[in-house]
């Protein structure tokens, strides 16, 4: 046999390396779009003089930035590009232009962005947001992406204000904005954030709703501070020049030869391009249309409802449960005596206006009541429409303003912009527009059917082709005729431009890869094509893992990596690294990673478990529920009883609270002792996990990897330091599963049985929801339970009865001492143990996780499941049965269930997922070779760890992950006088009681009776005994009686995070009343502090008559 040439031998030896490299490159170059949406990101560069600005107050978590601009003439175009470290709202002359609401990082990236067309992805979260426990994660990186707004319709000649309100989880959240205003005579005014902007954390000495108005004087405000942060180029879906050019086009009028407008009208325009690089167009229209470029329809996401594009396709993709109804203006046929901004129902009033104000009609000298509506009338109506039946004042005197229903535009113009870069080609191009005429149903918009189109194509050689003056042809009976060109579009006809995206919908190329790879593998294996076997395996395996890795990022800001060229370079570097790694292993030298793990690994990772949870443990705010536990623990430490207010006990979870109280007794009542107890329990849980992994899988690698993921899991890190029972329950559950398997399935000894029963009881006493494990244990027993000698069974029974009695006693104590007599039924349903069979999507929450955290490991979990079934290992099958039945049981037994309540079984999922990594690698080892398989095991572990975005953990310690009442309470403590009253939103009166020593009022709208009790005819909060304030009348009365009241509000409770109040929710009027009458003094993350000071000015009530207040 002829010896091969050395280089052929070398190439052959490199083959296993070349394939994975090619796989990764393919992923990088061709499959970098996981969402199926061909989004192009453009680079937007800020001017050199633009700076990141912040307030000078280093304690508060918000900022109000204001810039006044004098414009000498009318505006032709104006845009502003905004980037924020957190969230922001842009206001111009008092009007809200747009916002990026700052939600929790477990929500999808750009979830709160009002400009839906500028979102990178529009996918809904896979797991709905339901009672979350947060992750130890920093927020999404909003600083890489900029949002562009059209300011033109908001600006006017003369004095203008541009305002930004920022919100962040770090103090002094900075913003950066840059833009330009083009004036009528060609002048340009640059707008950039710099130290000329006024900046205060709260609108100082100005009403909260009015600080953005140009009439307000803010000269006493401090100047903004420049934040030393580099201004790098930003990314955006918006083509760079789209907003930077004034709309310059003529109307194209749809006038049929027979003058019949009640039919559709189609127009085409052709144009030549040589080498197009980027292109966009904007279309102005008064009605629905469809548009194609080179025969391809612009694909606009169905979630962008209310667009004119495709507006006559009514099968829209709306929210899953569309409940809220938009405001309804009065019928123009029925306005008669009504006037002003009146709506059909008072609830649908303009949220920024106080519609409950009484209108006094000075012209109505007789003071007679209006009688007819002008519409349908009915006998007896006249008597009904009196003052008594009209508590909201809606039917009172008409005002003299022209009814809004008559003034509003019926066929409102919309200016919508699209990115068409993917659709234009070199050579001849065609744009096809079809205007849809409304059916002739009687009432029609007064606007003629017409459109105007503007746009530009950027060519490779730097020249731009304008689309504003295209020659339009009208499609008539299959032929073409010259379309009627109308007058030039005037600036006052233009509404604010909205960017809609515009790339056509395409099937994600991933699916082809996913289909093709298994087919190739099957063919290769079926036909025993030996030389392809190894390559196909590695290729498909890596492709699969890369796909899930990328999909797992689709709801996070890390998604941007895959949409920028950097990802491709990253893929190349990754390929080279893997090549080196595999080559290294192919050489047969290293035994480092294939042999057993060093004995010091477990303590080191346990130390990491401790450090990750204990680091800055005092920095994070105390959670709502955590306060309740802390209150009980402190009470036990002090009095031996978990009393809250008077005779009310917080007798839940006695084992945890008494154990924590013992810790407090020894180490003192401070946040460190309270939280470090949970941290130590986390370390103990990690150690038990390690032991179980070693015992059940006899593979130190699995034990080490499971412990590592346990250490780095963001959800476990966060909950692992909360001073509540979660961690203790998790530890007990893990022990219980192990002891049950040993005692009831392997029947090792009576000790294991007894221990299993006792630990189960302890788990229930740590957290009563652990009772949900009863059906799990029963099914495991039915499936795999083995018998023991009779005396063992009898002993087990005795212990079982004893445990049952203990649990019954706990429940009885809870019923007698913890539950107070109900005064009413709360509208909400608290999580409790009861049969539940709805929201079945939660069944997947363990395997997906918020932000798709669990997706990658769940893929490997499936491999473990398949392996367990194939091997028939009783241990493994039992563990899988435990996990799956637990997930099902938790979802069917606990109301309002979510990922949060499955916290106790996450370590089991980790264990089985890591086992999946191991068995998949083992299988690959058999298919390829041992060393490569071993290397891939490490690679897969790396992918799992990276899919959890561990870099976010380190950044998160500085941030406030939950709303921060502590800083707000500390501020009040420093400012309050002895006679001041304290009001705080539910469920935080206990927080105020702990931090301030007292609390007077509990603001709760609507009233939640589960948290109140009746004390001598007064409803009081259960935890602190504060008087419940659930009506506007009560609030007004308190303000009128008390000279100074501190109102500490959780902004999430009132649901209005922007300037405009969410009028459809309860509590809107209370919020408006507080905003109007009290001064906003301080804001921490998600919390606001208002001060009602009678000496500061008059009070604005909804009704100014004495005793005439009606809420």
């Amino acid at each position: 046999m002829r010896a091969s040439h050395p280089w052929i031998i070398w190439v052959k030896s490199c083959l296993p390396v070349i394939w994975p490299c090619l796989a990764l490159l393919l992923v990088g170059w061709f499959l970098s779009n996981p969402s199926g949406k061909d989004v192009t990101l453009y680079t937007h560069e800020a001017p050199k003089d633009a700076r990141w600005i912040r307030t000078q107050d280093a304690n508060q978590y918000t900022g109000c930035f204001r810039k006044e601009i004098d414009l000498p003439s009318d505006v032709r175009y104006a845009w502003l590009s905004v980037v924020s470290e957190g969230g922001f709202e842009l206001l111009c002359n008092g009007d809200s232009v747009g916002a990026q609401m700052y939600w929790r990082p477990t929500r999808a990236f750009q979830n709160g962005l009002t400009e839906s067309g500028q979102r990178v992805t529009n996918n809904e979260p896979m797991v709905a947001y339901n009672f979350p426990r947060e992750y130890q994660w920093s927020g999404h990186n909003n600083t890489k992406i900029t949002t562009v707004f059209d300011l033109r319709p908001y600006l006017r000649k003369g004095k203008n204000t541009i305002c930004l309100e920022s919100e962040g989880r770090l103090p002094q959240p900075a913003v950066l904005a840059f833009g330009e205003i083009g004036l009528r005579h060609g002048e340009r005014v640059s707008v950039v954030t710099d130290n000329t902007w006024m900046a205060e954390p709260v609108p100082r000495e100005v009403k909260q709703g009015g600080w953005s108005l140009p009439t307000v004087d803010t000269r006493h405000w401090k100047k903004a501070e420049i934040k030393p942060r580099p201004v790098v180029p930003f990314l955006s879906c918006v083509p760079t020049t789209l907003y930077r050019k004034p709309f310059d086009s003529r109307w194209v009028v749809a006038r049929a030869p027979d003058g019949d407008d009640a039919q559709s009208h189609e127009f085409t325009a052709d144009f030549q391009l040589s080498d197009p690089q980027a292109a966009w167009l904007q279309l102005l229209s008064h009605g629905n249309y469809w548009i194609w470029v080179n025969g391809r329809s612009l694909g606009v996401s169905r979630s962008k409802a209310k667009a004119y594009h495709g507006g006559d396709w009514l099968v829209r993709w709306e929210g899953r449960r569309p409940l809220a109804t938009p405001p309804i203006l009065l019928d123009p046929d029925e306005v008669s005596f009504f006037g002003g901004y009146r709506f059909e129902t008072p609830r649908h009033g303009d949220p920024t206006k106080n519609d409950f104000k009484r209108y006094e009609n000075q012209l109505n000298r007789t003071k007679e009541r209006p009688k007819g509506t002008g519409g349908d009338s009915h006998a007896g109506e006249d008597e009904e429409r009196g003052r008594l039946q009209d508590p909201y004042g809606f039917l009172e005197e008409a005002n003299i303003a022209v009814p809004h229903a008559l003034l509003r535009q019926r066929a409102k113009a919309k200016l919508q912009a699209y990115d068409i870069s993917h659709l234009v080609v070199p050579g001849k191009n065609q744009i096809h527009v079809r205007l849809v005429a409304d059916p002739a149903l009687g009432y029609r918009g007064s606007q003629a059917i017409k459109f105007a189109l503007d746009g530009a194509v950027h060519e490779h050689h730097g020249q731009d082709v304008a689309l504003s003056h295209l020659s339009w042809n009208r499609v008539v009976d299959g032929g073409h005729a010259m379309a009627v060109s109308g007058r030039q579009v005037t600036p006052d006809e233009l509404p604010a431009m909205k960017f809609m995206g515009g790339a056509p919908r395409t099937l994600s190329r991933w699916w082809w890869a996913v289909l093709a790879c298994p087919m190739v593998v099957l063919i290769v294996m079926r036909h025993r094509i030996g030389w392809l076997r190894q390559s196909a395996m590695i290729f498909s395996g890596l492709l699969l893992v890369a796909m899930f890795f990328q999909i797992s990022y689709a709801e996070r800001s890390e998604m941007l990596w895959f949409m920028s060229p950097a990802w491709r370079y990253g893929a190349v570097i990754g390929a080279l690294l893997i090549a080196c790694l595999l080559r290294f292993f192919q050489g047969g030298r290293p035994r480092l990673l294939s042999c057993g793990l060093p004995c010091w690994l477990c303590p080191v990772i346990l130390l990491a478990v401790f450090l990750l949870r204990a680091w800055m443990v005092e920095h994070q705010p105390i959670d709502d529920d955590e306060y309740a536990s802390i209150q009980a623990v402190l009470s036990i430490a002090e009095t031996g009883k978990p009393s809250l207010a008077g005779e009310i006990w917080y007798s839940r979870s006695p084992l945890y609270h008494y154990a924590a109280a013992a810790v407090v007794k020894v180490f003192g009542a401070n946040i460190w002792s309270l939280r470090l107890y949970s941290v130590l329990l986390s370390v103990l849980t990690g150690w038990v996990l390690w032991l179980l992994a070693r015992r059940y899988f006899r593979d130190p690698w699995v034990a080490g990897a499971a412990l590592l993921i346990f250490a780095l899991h963001p959800f476990l890190i966060f909950s692992g330091h909360i001073a509540r029972f979660y961690q203790q329950q998790q530890l007990m559950v893990l022990l219980m599963i192990h002891l049950f398997i040993q005692g009831f399935i392997y029947t090792k000894s009576i000790k294991h049985r007894v221990a299993a029963i006792v630990v189960f009881a302890l788990a229930v006493l740590s957290q009563e929801i652990s009772i949900s494990f009863v059906p799990v244990l029963l099914i495991a027993y039915l499936l795999f339970g083995r018998g023991t000698p009779l005396k063992w069974e009898v002993k087990s029974m005795v212990y079982l009865v004893f445990a049952g009695l203990l649990i019954v006693a706990d429940v009885l104590l809870f019923k007698v001492k913890c539950i107070t007599t109900s005064v009413g039924v709360s509208p909400n349903v608290e999580a409790t143990l009861a049969p539940t069979f709805w929201e079945l999507g939660n069944l997947f929450s363990m395997f997906v996780g918020y932000s798709r955290l669990h997706l990658v490991l769940s893929v490997f979990y499936m491999m473990s499941l398949v392996y367990s079934i194939r091997r028939g290992s009783s241990r493994l099958i039992t563990l899988h049965v435990f996990l799956i039945v637990s997930v099902v049981a938790f979802n069917l037994i606990i109301t309002s269930v979510s990922f949060r309540y499955m916290y106790s079984i996450i370590p089991l999922w980790i264990l089985l997922g890591v086992h999946g990594v191991s068995v998949f690698s083992l299988w690959l080892s058999v298919q390829i070779n041992r060393r490569t398989g071993n290397a891939l095991r490490w690679l897969f572990l790396l992918v799992v760890v990276l899919s959890m975005a561990p870099w976010r953990i380190m950044q998160s310690y500085q941030e406030k992950i939950l709303g921060d009442p502590i800083s707000s309470l500390a501020y009040v403590k420093s400012e309050m006088r002895p006679e001041d009253k304290i009001m705080i939103t539910e469920p935080h009166p206990h927080a105020a009681k702990i931090e301030l020593g007292r609390v007077d009022y509990d603001l709760v709208v609507p009233i939640l009776y589960d948290f109140t009790y009746n004390s001598e005819g007064v409803l009081r909060d259960r935890n602190a005994g504060a008087m419940a304030v659930n009506r506007l009348a009560d609030l007004q009365k308190i303000f009128s009686e008390q000279p100074r009241v501190w109102v500490i509000l959780n902004r999430e409770k009132f649901r209005s995070r922007k300037k405009n109040i969410r009028w459809e929710y309860p509590g809107a009027r209370e919020e408006l009343f507080i905003r109007q009458n009290a001064e906003l003094k301080y804001r921490s993350y998600l919390w606001s502090v208002y001060l009602w000071d009678r000496s500061a000015g008059a009070m604005e009530t909804f009704r100014k008559e004495p005793d005439g207040w009606v809420e």
Binding site: Q389, R410, P439
Partner: protein
């Protein structure tokens, strides 16, 4: 004859006894499942207010299918009696086949039984509207202390009625929740699922578990082999069932995409044909307000403006344009022929009527509101929001008789609702009754109703 001693000497006698006990329970459960409805949509007659439940016709089909599968296995067992090594294993296979069949029931009900599931979705969505944060119940808790007014701003009916979201757009992994609904496990099913279905699932699942346990204790090695076979069988059964269900959704989507493309081109005839084809694939798609509007739009464009859907589209169009008077007149015209309409259009019309009534309530025209609510309740016995708002009107107009009537009707409907937050609605209803009784001077009745409103 089995001796007691031999039983007790068996080390596994206790788990076996427990297994036997649960196997008996499983058997009984299966038996009960045949006697009970699998879907129990509450229904209150508009005439005599009698309460009852509606089941789907598919329940009967599935029960027959289960019997057929049982007879098939019995026949197979008899025919192959000399070759069958283990009847237990055969029973396990039988159990799994039945279990998959039962789990497939929601898909058929949700996708194909448009009348029943449409009514279920309508009731469920009204309940959602009452209880969402901002709905009548939350507002009642925030505002009910108003002494002189209605105390509650009546909440509009759902803006859109649908059993599920139409399968348009990408059908990828991110739409996991939509897939769950398309496969039948949406709230319209889970809210009104009957005991029979639970008994059937629990019975067959428990039976299989007990048999698996039996084999495990007999021989672990044998059980492993058997489990593998069972899992493979289960996988293929689910694959078959899943493929059919997914194909139906895929075909409906395909037809809708074509319909949208035809709409874009202005070929409304073809667009209507494609949309109707999509409805043939998924009949319950026809309950979707958007689909009804779209069909109406096509009819209007094709000069068939007097069809029910076309008139409903016109109502929608007038409302969109703000001409509620014209919309109301059209609704009144449609109401005259409500009895001749199909269920989908009837529900859509009820939704419009309810919205008109709510607007009347909120603008103080109570007699007109009562008139409309009466009209709704005459045809639609379980119009939940109509009952609730009619009670509000009864309280406002001091009609204690109607107040009681509506309270009892609400109680009747809510017997069939599973959601726990129904207690909030009932508390509000009892509170309205208590206020009405108090106004009428019936102090004892008022006290009783007040206690109930407190949940006591």
């Amino acid at each position: 004859m089995i001796r007691l001693k031999s039983i007790v000497s068996d080390p596994d006698w206790l788990p076996k006894a427990v297994n036997f006990l649960f196997a008996v329970i499983a058997f009984l459960s299966v038996g009960f499942s045949f006697l009970n409805p699998w879907y129990a949509l509450p229904y209150v007659s508009g005439v005599d207010h009698a309460w009852g439940t509606h089941d789907s016709i598919y329940t009967i089909y599935f029960k027959v299918a289960l019997v057929a599968v049982t007879l098939g296995f019995v026949w197979w067992g008899y025919w192959m009696r000399r070759r069958i090594q283990s009847y237990g294993a055969m029973m396990l296979r039988y159990g799994l086949c039945c279990l998959v069949l039962i789990l497939w029931f929601p898909t058929w009900l949700t996708v194909r039984d448009a009348d029943v599931i449409g009514d279920g979705a309508w009731l469920q969505q009204q309940h959602d509207t009452l209880t969402w944060l901002g709905g009548d119940i939350y507002r009642a808790h925030a505002e009910r202390s108003v002494e002189l007014g209605t105390g509650v701003n009546a909440q509009d009916p759902p803006e859109r009625l649908a059993v599920y979201r139409p399968p348009i757009g990408s059908l990828g992994i991110h739409r996991i929740n939509d897939w769950l609904w398309w496969l039948g496990y949406g709230p319209a099913f889970t809210q009104f699922v009957g005991k029979g279905w639970f008994y059937a699932v629990a019975g067959y699942a428990l039976g299989c578990i007990c048999l698996c346990g039996f084999y495990w204790r007999r021989s672990v090695l044998g059980a492993r082999h058997l489990f593998r076979q069972l899992v493979i069988l289960l996988f293929f059964l689910f694959l078959c069932v899943g493929c059919i269900s997914v194909a139906v959704v895929g075909c409906a989507r395909c037809a809708m995409v074509k319909s949208e493309a035809s709409t874009a081109r202005g070929d409304y005839q073809q667009a209507r044909d494609h949309l109707r084809k999509a409805i043939r694939y998924m009949p319950s798609l026809g309950c979707d307000s958007g689909v009804i509007r779209q069909l109406g739009y096509f009819d209007v464009q094709l000069d068939e403006a007097d069809s029910d859907v076309a008139l409903l589209y016109q109502v929608f169009w007038f409302e969109q344009q703000g001409y509620y008077g014209r919309a109301r007149k059209l609704v009144s015209r449609l109401a005259e022929r409500k009895g001749e309409m199909n269920r989908e259009c009837g529900r859509e019309l009820t939704r419009h009527q309810l919205r008109i009534a709510v607007n009347y309530i909120n603008s103080g025209r109570y007699q007109l509101a009562i008139l409309h609510l009466d009209q709704i309740l005459e045809h639609d016995g379980n119009a939940l929001q109509a009952c609730f708002h009619q009670q509000l009107m009864a309280l406002q107009t001091d009609d204690v008789g109607r107040n009681r009537q509506m309270n009892s009707r609400l109680r009747a409907i809510y017997q069939g609702v599973k959601s726990k937050n129904k207690r909030g609605v009932m508390a509000a209803s009892w509170w309205m009754l208590a206020q009405g009784e108090m106004k009428a001077g019936n102090e004892v009745e008022a006290w009783e109703a007040r206690k109930k409103s407190k949940g006591q």
